[in-house]
Every structure is written in C-alpha cells, then in structure tokens.
C-alpha cells in the first residue's frame, strides 16, 4: 500500500546568529517524511536541535534553508493571512511545560476556545461552550473545569488542557514537544494512553519529540535520531532497536536505564566518540536497508550493509 505523505521535510536548516560572527547551526540539513496516521519519534540529547526542528516545521521559527511541505504546500515563505490561518488550523503543537504554556489569566474555557474563536468554528456562544465541554471530556477532564484557571490544576491535568486546546481546531497533524517529560511516571502513562487513543479515534498524525527512549519506542512507528543538528539514523522503531547501526544510536541505547536490576548490574555502556569517524569524507544520509537510513561515509556504508547481512 502506498502511504500518503502528510509532511515532507527537505534539507531543512535553521541557523541562529550569535553576535556578528558566530552562527549556531541548530538544525543543519535534515530531511524526512511523515506519513498519514503515523507517529514519528524524534530523539536526541538536549541541544541536538530536535525542538528547533519541531518549531521550524510549524513556522515558529523561519527556516534558514530547505523546505517544509505540508499536504503538498510549502509552509515557509510569503503567505496571505488566509493561507496562514488555513495552515495553522491543520497543524498544532503541544508544549513541554504545561504551566508556562497556558495563560494564567484566562479560564480553561477561553484557553481551549481561543483557536475556535480565531478560526470562527463556533456558530453561537452555546455551540462554543458545547465544543469546549466535549473536548474537555475527550481528554478526561470534567465539563465543570471550564470555568477554572490553570493554577487550579495538577501538572497532568494541565497537559490535558494543552491537548484539548490543540484538538479544538480539528488538526490533522500534531507536534508534541516533550509532552510528558515534566510529568510523574504514573501520569505519563495516562497521557500517553490518551494520545494513542486520540490518534486511533481521529486518525491523527504525530511528531513526537522526546529524550525518553523507551517511551518513544513505545509510541512511535518510526524514529529519527538526531545529533548536533544532523539526523544520524532513521528507521522503523523495532528495526532501530534491533539493529542500531550508527555508533551514536548505540551509545544512546546503551544508556537507557531499564527497570530490571539484573540487566542493570550487567549493563555495559558504550560511549560515543565522534572522532571514530573518517573525517576526510563528508558523511551522507544513505539507505542501508529498505527504510533504514544512516548518516555515514562510503566505507561505513559498505560496513553497515555487511553487518546487516550477517544478522
């Protein structure tokens, strides 16, 4: 079955200027596609550019170079207000910190309804209220919560408000930037179950950005691993965990703590040393196996191929 692409990221670059001379290449030439209805996980350490990628895709940052194509339409570049509105409605974002991403002076009703108002989706005041209440129930809150303010809620509940706000405009594609890292373990599972349920019910597409690899593996269909602004490996999540090829991916995976004392006692951590690559040749992003991409040099490419054949 040919899968329908929702989002294509082509050679995306985002550089930040620091003063006159220094440039931080937060995202440096990355490309990937996201298919309809799938969850794409983006992992990496802090500072690797995964959040910047998410924010550039949704146009919170302007791209320095490259393209983001959403439903066959370029996200960046000059746009009329009308086009921009249309785009914003289809693409939404859930932020990491549920306390700083909700306006403390607005009631939950107004927070969730903001998108409904902007896009004029409600026919009447009663319709607006009904929509918000339905959304709150969808994300597991009560309709009575609508009149309260964000500070009256716990972290997990606030994150649910953030999710309800993103859902209010009936988006197709949601970027979730570390949506669970600020939450307690037991609440994390609640929110992840909620996100998966919503995806099933509404056919949503997710870009899930996180550093918790076990959670990313659980929720994602495909995973991209980022390192210093580059994507170093991209594969289906099972494949990535079974056959990690890039040394950085291996090191990242060997560092995940598992809730199993025996495994932990015998664990050996693999450290990543960028110096082990041959620097005389600029590495490229190559497909080692079907749908399994690694950033490597020609020599490494051959080596990885052999490695997979021997498995």
């Amino acid at each position: 079955m040919e899968q329908e692409k929702v989002l294509e990221v082509k050679n995306l670059q985002k550089h930040f200027k620091l003063g006159r001379k220094n440039i931080v290449k937060a995202v440096d030439d990355i490309s990937f596609d996201i298919n309809k209805g799938e969850t794409f996980g983006l992992v990496g350490e802090s500072g690797c550019g995964k959040s910047t990628t998410g924010r550039t895709i949704i146009r919170l940052h302007d791209a320095t170079g490259g393209q983001v194509v959403f439903n066959n339409e370029n996200v960046h570049g000059k746009k009329s207000k009308k086009d921009l509105l249309k785009l914003n409605r289809k693409m939404q974002m859930i932020f990491q910190d549920p306390s700083s991403s909700l306006n403390p002076k607005m009631t939950v009703m107004d927070i969730v309804a903001e998108g409904i108002d902007i896009h004029k989706l409600a026919e009447s005041e009663a319709d607006r209220k009904a929509r918000v209440e339905e959304l709150l129930e969808t994300v597991g809150l009560n309709r009575e919560h609508a009149t309260r303010f964000p500070h009256e809620f716990s972290g997990g509940q606030r994150q649910r408000i953030g999710i309800a706000r993103a859902l209010a405009v009936e988006p197709e594609f949601i970027i979730a930037d570390e949506p669970i890292s600020a939450l307690d373990v037991s609440i994390q599972a609640q929110v992840v179950n909620l996100l998966r349920g919503l995806q099933r019910d509404y056919g949503l597409t997710f870009l899930f950005i996180a550093h918790d690899l076990s959670m990313v593996k659980y929720i994602s269909d495909r995973i991209g691993v980022m390192y210093f602004g580059n994507m170093v490996e991209l594969a289906e999540s099972d494949e990535l965990y079974r056959n990690p090829l890039h040394p950085y991916t291996k090191s990242l995976m060997s560092a995940i703590p598992l809730p199993d004392p025996d495994y932990e006692r015998n664990r050996t951590r693999v450290a990543y040393d960028p110096a082990e690559h041959d620097t005389s040749e600029e590495p490229e992003f190559r497909e080692v196996k079907k749908d399994h991409w690694v950033r490597c040099t020609t020599e490494e490419f051959e080596q990885y191929k052999r490695q997979l054949e021997n498995k």
Partner: protein, 351 residues
Amino acid sequence: MSKLLEVKDLSVSFNTYSGEVQAVRGIDFDLKKGETLAIVGESGSGKSVTTKAITQLLSKPQGYIKTGEILFEEEDITKYSNKQMQKLRGKDISTVFQDPMTSLNPTMKVGRQIAEGLIKHRKMSKAQARDKTIELLELVGIPQAEKRINQYPHQFSGGMRQRAVVAIALACNPKILIADEPTTALDVTIQAQILELMKEIQREMDSAIIFITHDLGVVANVADRVAVMYAGKIVEIGTADDIFYNPKHPYTWGLLGSMPTLDSDEEELYAIPGSPPDMLNPPEGDAFAPRNRFALEIDTKMEPPMFQVSDTHYAASWLLHEHAPKIDPPESVQRRMQGFASMDDGKDGED
C-alpha cells in the same frame, strides 16, 4: 553490617494558610554502611521532605518534625542545635540536589565552592584545600582541573556542573550521601556517566547513599534496597530484587506497569488512574484506595499495617492479609517479570 542511620516513626508537617499539610506520616527505615537505599514515589509523596528532615533543611518555621526520631550513629540528631547540625552537614551527611544550576553559587568560582567545605570542616589551609580540590575534580572526571577551578559555574555544561556538585558533596568523605534526583535534569548519556561515577566513588569511600528518584530504571541501576513512598508513607520496602521481581503493593505494580518495556507492543500502558491525594486532608484508611483497582472494603476504613513478606521485604496493603482474596499482579506486570526472568537464563529469582 551496623546501622548508620535509623529513622523511627518520622512525621513531618507544614503549616500553611489553609491548614496543616502532612507531608510525611510516620515512616521507619534504616540505612547500613556502604549501601544504597533508593526512595521512589511521585512528586508530593514526601521523599524529598524526608531527606530534608534528616539534614534539617526544612523551610522554617512552616516545616517541622512532628514526631519521631532520626538516629545517626545512635544519636538522635533531631535534637541537635543549629551549630551541631552545621558540623554534621557537609561533613558526615551531604546532599546532591536536583538542579546543578541553582545549587551552585553563580558569582563564586567553582574551585572556591568546593574548597569551602574542606577549609571549614577539615581545617585545611588554603593551599592544601586547593590541591585537594584539584584531586576531587579529577576524581569526578573533569579534565583540566587546574584550569577549571578558576572558572565560574556558567562556564560548565550541565553534566560538568553536576559533577562539580558531586565533588562538593564528596569533599569531606561523608558517611551518608543524599542524592535528591541528581540526574533528572540531565540527558540519558550524561545520567549514565554520573550514576557510574557515584557507584565508583561509593565503592572507594564506602559511603552510604540515599537516592531519591521517580525513575525506576535508575533505581534498578543503583539501588541495593528500595523504599516506595506514597502519600507520605512507605508502602513497600525491600531489596531491589524483591521490589522488581516480586512486588506486592498495587501501587508498585502501577509504577512498574506504567513504564513501557523496550520489547513490548502492548496496546495500552497499565496506568494508575486519578491523581495523588491532597495532603491537607489525607483520606481515611489506605490513601491509595481511590486509585486502586484492587481496593477492598476495609481499605476505605482502616490503614493497612506493614505485612512481612520475607526477611527483607515488607508491604503495607490489605491484600497481604491472610483473609484477603488472593490477587495476582496485573497481566502486563506479570509478563514484564517473566520477560526479565527469561532474559537471563541461569536466574531463579522468581517464585
């Protein structure tokens, strides 16, 4: 092994405008020389407050120890004066806090912050302290230590800063190191490094560690024994193997079940419904009952006592009472336990 620290029936409360918040409600545990005790629980379960009570760093006058005693080398330190405590803190008991950015003084050179304790507690001269500081920085794996001591915290990366904090905590060879979520703010690769470092230093110095975290993966990595806290009480305590391979309390099941395993493809995670209780008015009976799908009628009326499972393993749940219906852990938790058993062949820890 002798008991280094004994906490007996400790209760800590905070006076607030809306009333008394009972953060810790009668807990008992002990700590032996050279061992690592992990305290796990959600935010608000009282795990940090417990350690702050030990070092008397509770925000005063709101926070106070309501009942109980804390015996350090058989002396009750809750009765210590401020001056006596200051001698103890940093020397015998030191703490590594969660956020390395806020626990270092931004206007003071890193070297001086480490040397401070050496000069004060170990009566070293400045030159001696400087040499020792360099040695400590090298011990925690900071390269070019001689250059680094003259730098300020903002010139260190997050992982390096946490290493410096560990160096401060270790400066006076403490008998007890309290690590309050020391790796939560760090990346997994850095986290692994810091954990390895702490274990290595523990082996060298034979200190005991109280490790506070909510990440069960980290617990499995560092802990000899584990105490699970919920709503200000220890609900289950035992060796790491007891807690991970033979958990008895439904809350522990929930914690274990809410973490996905790397080879699981389950449709739903086993989440604990609801949210933790309000400690202003803790519920009657078992505080976990409203979120417990296995709750019995008695749970809403009477608090369960600690039932002994084995010599090392205790849990507070009415399910362990001899008249209680026999309930097995939920399937996903059982599968996880079996999965672990099959991962390493020669092991027969399951029963």
